[in-house]
Amino acid sequence: MSLTAVDTTTRLPDLSAVPAVDEVGVNERVARFQSRSIKTASKIEALKLVLSMIDLTTLEGQDTPGKVRQLCQKAIHLHDALPDLPHVAAVCVYPTMVGVAREALAGRDINIASVATAFPSGQAPLSVKLEDTRMAVAAGANEIDMVISRGEFLAGHHGRVFDEIVAIKEACGDAHLKVILETGELGTLDRVRKASVLAMHAGADFIKTSTGKIQPAATMQVTLVMLQAIRDYYYDTGRMVGMKPAGGISSAKLAVHYLVMLRETLGNAWMTPDWFRFGASSLANDVLMQLQKQKTGVYQSPDYFSKD
């Protein structure tokens, strides 16, 4: 496949030229990543890197300003008993909570991500989605996590999905745009790959697997397919696109295997919070527990780690 001739900023590429994906082969490659044995110094380094890549997330109907303020405290104070810890990359909230997070994180080097575009279903008119996005940006979000219209995509209306992303990207202004494909609703890895290509050509800064509201959410399989799409896009255009698996990554061991996959697929340039994020709510504490274990040799009770 070569998409070199395509104008990368405004035109929908020919998705029939996107290479096929073989699910059996993807499963085998993923199993190979998971057979990597990450020990000692490389484990500690990886665990800290995972922490720095987390988008600490709360996306519930029951969210309140109080809950969001507590989450921001956790973002700042992951586990003060362990020195030299990085902070998380961002907190991720609904648009109505962006202002609260902005206040709670004032002066901190932690980004504020907001979901937008009628998250999680995306079933709203474009005008509503645009307004949703503008409002979140105006309230202080510097990262927008949008959802694509899965219904339009599955119906084969690729152009509409593409145009929508282009419009939202424009509404984002300086804010980074993460495009959620909701892979659990796309059904096949072939569609995941096509949707990835579409989103990147429409201007996505990041592509993201899931809302976390649909099962399955992130898997290593879909993430691998998306990373391979990112690599091919980079080869075709020279532009780096980030990756965010979200939902379902709650153990440190699994997160480290995602890093193995990232390292062996895209290489070192992507191994930073600028280019890779974990969308997660409970991952941080398991990572902290593992770091504590590496330091002391024993596991501590989960009660020693704050749950905000």
Binding site: M1, S2, P19, A20, V21, D22, V24, G25, V26, E28, R29, S35, R36, S37, I38, K39, T40, A41, S42, K43, E45, A46, L49, Q228, R231, Y234, Y235, D236, G238, L259, R263, E264, L266, G267, N268, A269, M271
Partner: protein, 489 residues
Amino acid sequence: MATPENKLAFDAGWQYSPAPESTDHIKVRKRYGLFIGGDFVAPEKGKYFDTVNPATEEKLSRVALASDADVDKAVKAARKAYGPWVRMKPAERGKYIYRIARIMQERSREFAAIESLDGGKPIRESRDVDVPLAAAHFFYYAGWADKLEYAFPGRKARPLGVAGQIIPWNFPLLMAAWKIAPALACGNTVVLKPAETTPLTAMKLAEVVADAGIPDGVVNIVTGAGETGAAIVNHPGVDKIAFTGSTEVGRIIQQALAGTNKKYTLELGGKAANIIFADAAIDQAVEGIINGIFFNQGHVCCAGSRLFVQESVAEEVIQKLKDRMETLIVGDPLDKNTDIGAINSRQQLDTIESYLAIGQGEGGEMYQSSCPVPDKGYWCRPTLFTGVSQSNRVVQEEIFGPVLAIQTFRTFDEALTKANNTPYGLSGGVWTDKGAKIFKMTQSVRAGVVWANTFNKFDPTSPFGGYKESGMGREGGLHGLDAYLRLEA
């Protein structure tokens, strides 16, 4: 495609710390005798030779060098054991074989570690492939022991007698299982010779055979080099020869057996074509190419050593192969993260290196990954040759190392013609998203096994063997029984 500006970087940043498999649980004796008649016995002439770890060049143990007299003793022990063994109730024979399988599973960690120490293959492979598959072969054939009448309905299946079995160094334990399991299930007794560079897991298997209570003399294992193998082949008391190894030696064996009443199977060399069509799932095909040629350092008779890529995707496939090769870790076979271990012996390394020189001399463009390799031991980085053709020796001859020769093709017919344009015919691979193309190609490639959208998949239930100079007869599956039986009306 990749340019100097957008090249991916795999060489710096986060690296994996060493994760060595421990060896404190393994027991290797300082010296091994010959396993004859249920016991380890000293060789008649008292000669022993060293077996070394190819990753460190350090001596692991000494094993006996079997002379003609020792082979004669082993064959006689096998003959003596044959009568009671063949008269035993088949279900009882099956029980013994199941027992070997179970004990092998119980000791799988030890088998895996010793296989990697003695042969140089990465522990990931010996742990996940060699040992489980070896046990699976015993399990599978144990089940056939009392069901032979159903395997060949309407005919009486009679064992042959004493089987002489000679196996190579690339899959020492697995090849021993491929040979011993069907032979025993069919009621034969065996004299097996492991390769001289990798005798240790065969010695451990002898211990398993003893611990399983297999009647004395049913399984005999003699160690030595080519002369020991020749003594087995030429022994008049042997009824069947099963050989896996080079085509060159296979020819000598076939000549020696001509005019005798000995049945034989030969599993010889290969130069498999791995064919990638433009409509293939490219990223998964790249992984299949990597596994096809770099599995077990390329010491695989069915390795996909000739790559044919459709021209329109050739540049992309080669770029992705190079990227993937950069992530392959070459080094300590006992490290759980090692992808490519040590070359099995100094001699084999010399052979591979001579081919690297030949390939470059022929005008081929050689590419090797940049991975560091240890100072001591025998190592070869994963290697590609582009700009080569069917006329080049690196395309024609079996190198038996991590060396891939890449050619491009334009049409289906061109790929097929070139794929079959080889004296070998052991295996092949085809990669396409189109089912009809898979069937068309797999029916036309003259090879014993052709994989579609995968490579190097093995299962005890599936027959394996070659066309043309890749050998004759089949091992594995129901067909594998046939090689150890005489079928009577």
